[in-house]
């Protein structure tokens, strides 16, 4: 399974570390990432790959939402195809 993980929230120390640690725990491999600051809002996008026999999409989503709630961040996980479908001809 491949998906895009987006992290948005107030900039703070250790965001990248926290998200990356959780992804490592879930055995989600990061294959690409980018991050930027937009008006004090930290925005990070990661492309992650994992074995969906080991971890279902819903479980990955639940774990990341929990991390988001605990860290004051909005963390979304969506399959890549939706972005291509909407934005590319």
């Amino acid at each position: 399974m491949k998906a895009i993980i987006t992290v948005v929230g107030q900039d703070q120390v250790g965001i990248v570390a926290r998200v990356a640690t959780e992804l490592a725990r879930l055995k989600i491999n990061i294959v690409d990432m980018s991050q930027t600051l937009m008006a004090d809002n930290f925005t990070m996008m990661l492309s992650g790959v994992w074995d969906d026999q080991q971890l279902s999409f819903a479980d990955a989503q639940a774990a990341l939402e929990e991390l988001g709630a605990a860290s004051g961040l909005t963390i979304r996980i969506q399959r890549q195809a939706v972005f291509d479908a909407i934005q590319k001809l």
Binding site: A3, V8, A85
Partner: protein, 447 residues
């Protein structure tokens, strides 16, 4: 990684209320017809629950995996007046209860098709179905009903127009809120995914997936970026935005159809508002430059919007269908509600607007003492606009029993609240009472 497209998409969904309004499965019931009504209903129940057993599950999976909200899961069936006509049943309420039971078992939001097509005349099943509508709607919560009373090719069945005025009054006498589940059409379409008017047309395949999109908030936000510029720029901006919104409909519909192993029918290119702030068609018209929806110029702005949405969306979809256009349901659009409350929007202006958009006088509350003949007159007017202009039109009015102008009817949720609107007090009684059939119009000498 290209971050801009990802952020744009997330903004459209999270801040601008972009969603898939409905995934609707159309199911043919022709193979359920039986001279024994009880057997027919058992076959109907079995076919619906078997065909759509994974509809809700698949819609929820897509929502989770792609982060696209899918607001409604619905079913549309063959008009029951056709399916039940072979039986000896004298009323068809039991068919509505069967639809309700199947919908409830599946967890779908609404089920449409308690319908009759009488634009040219009544067959025996049509009369029984129309007579059953008030009780059917009173005893169910998910069943939606529609009657087609006119078409460009057939003219208008004035007998049916007259009868439905009384039907709507009867429904309202029990509970005005039930009136939102009945829509009276001219030129009804076979592949409409939106309620209350969805039914599975007689020329459709056995099963089909149709998708209705939304997204007024996205269009409004896009137009904020071109304030003061020429109307050509406005049109281009709407087209570009509609393109993106529709892509999502095509994408979600094709995945749903594949997972359900059902052919993908059409995307309905609609701008469907909700009462939520920032999800209003009226606000788009105001962004185009009207001080308030209802002002002179409203019809022109709406015509441009409606056309540009179609132009932007049509290239994206394999097949376009349904009601495709901007919806103007008063109770479901926060800015429309405000305009009516302030006295800036009248039924007459709304009627003019329906000549250039989808779909008709929709979700409008009228005083409880409005006569059946007046309601029939409104239906006749809308049907005439549809018939002459070769487009679907509809009436979904709510006589607010015991209430008058200044009061409001509360529907709840996405259906919102409707301020009671003034109706012209002069009566069309003698016109409606004539009955008969308004002949089909001539298609030359377009003036």
């Amino acid at each position: 990684m290209e971050s801009r497209p990802i952020l744009d998409t997330i903004q459209m969904i999270a801040e601008e209320n972009l969603d898939i309004r409905t995934i609707t499965m159309g199911i043919s019931l022709f193979d359920c017809i039986d001279s024994d009504g009880a057997k027919a209903r058992q076959k109907i129940y079995d076919k619906i629950t078997h065909s759509a057993r994974d509809l809700v599950k698949v819609a929820e999976q897509i929502q989770t995996e792609y982060g696209v909200p899918i607001i409604n899961k619905r079913i549309a069936v063959t008009p029951i007046a056709l399916v039940a006509a072979a039986s000896a049943d004298q009323d068809y309420v039991a068919y509505a209860l069967t639809m309700e039971k199947a919908a409830s078992e599946l967890g779908v939001d609404l089920i449409g098709g308690f319908s009759a097509l009488v634009q040219k005349g009544y067959q025996s099943g049509d009369r029984k179905l129309i007579a059953s509508i008030p009780q059917a709607l009173a005893e169910t919560s998910r069943v939606c009903s529609s009657v087609n009373v006119g078409s460009t090719r057939a003219g208008i069945n004035l007998d049916a127009v007259g009868e439905l005025g009384h039907t709507i009054k009867t429904i309202a006498a029990d509970d005005p809120v039930n009136c939102m589940s009945l829509v009276v059409f001219a030129n009804a379409v076979d592949d409409n995914p939106f309620m209350a008017g969805a039914f599975h047309g007689v020329g459709e395949a056995d099963r089909v997936i149709n998708v209705g999109i939304s997204g007024p908030g996205v269009v409004k936000r896009a137009l904020e970026q071109v304030r003061g510029q020429s109307i050509d720029v406005v049109s281009e901006q709407i087209k570009k935005t509609a393109f993106k919104v529709t892509r999502m409909g095509q994408f979600v519909g094709s995945i749903a159809a594949e997972r359900l192993n059902v052919p993908f029918g059409i995307v309905d290119l609609s701008l469907a508002p909700t009462p939520n702030e920032g999800d209003s068609v009226a606000e788009i018209l105001e962004e185009i430059g009207l001080e308030r929806v209802g002002a002179p110029g409203t019809t022109a702005a709406l015509a441009l919007l409606n056309d540009a949405v179609k132009k932007g969306g049509v290239m994206v979809c394999e097949h376009v269908g349904g009601l495709s256009g901007a919806f103007i349901p008063v109770s479901e659009d926060a800015e429309m509600i405000r305009a009516v409350r302030a006295g800036h929007l009248s039924i007459e202006k709304l009627e003019a607007m329906t000549a250039v958009c989808s779909v008709g006088l929709d979700m409008i509350a009228v005083p409880g003492n409005t006569s059946a003949a007046s309601i029939s007159g409104m239906i006749a007017d809308e049907a005439a606009i549809g018939m002459i202009n070769n487009k679907p039109t509809a009436v979904r009015v709510i006589p607010a029993t015991g209430q008058d102008v200044g009061d409001e009817v509360e529907f709840g949720g996405l259906f919102g609240r409707a301020p009671v609107m003034r109706v012209n007090p002069n009566q069309p009684q003698a016109f409606i009472k004539r009955g008969g059939h308004i002949p089909a119009p001539i298609h030359s000498f377009k003036n």
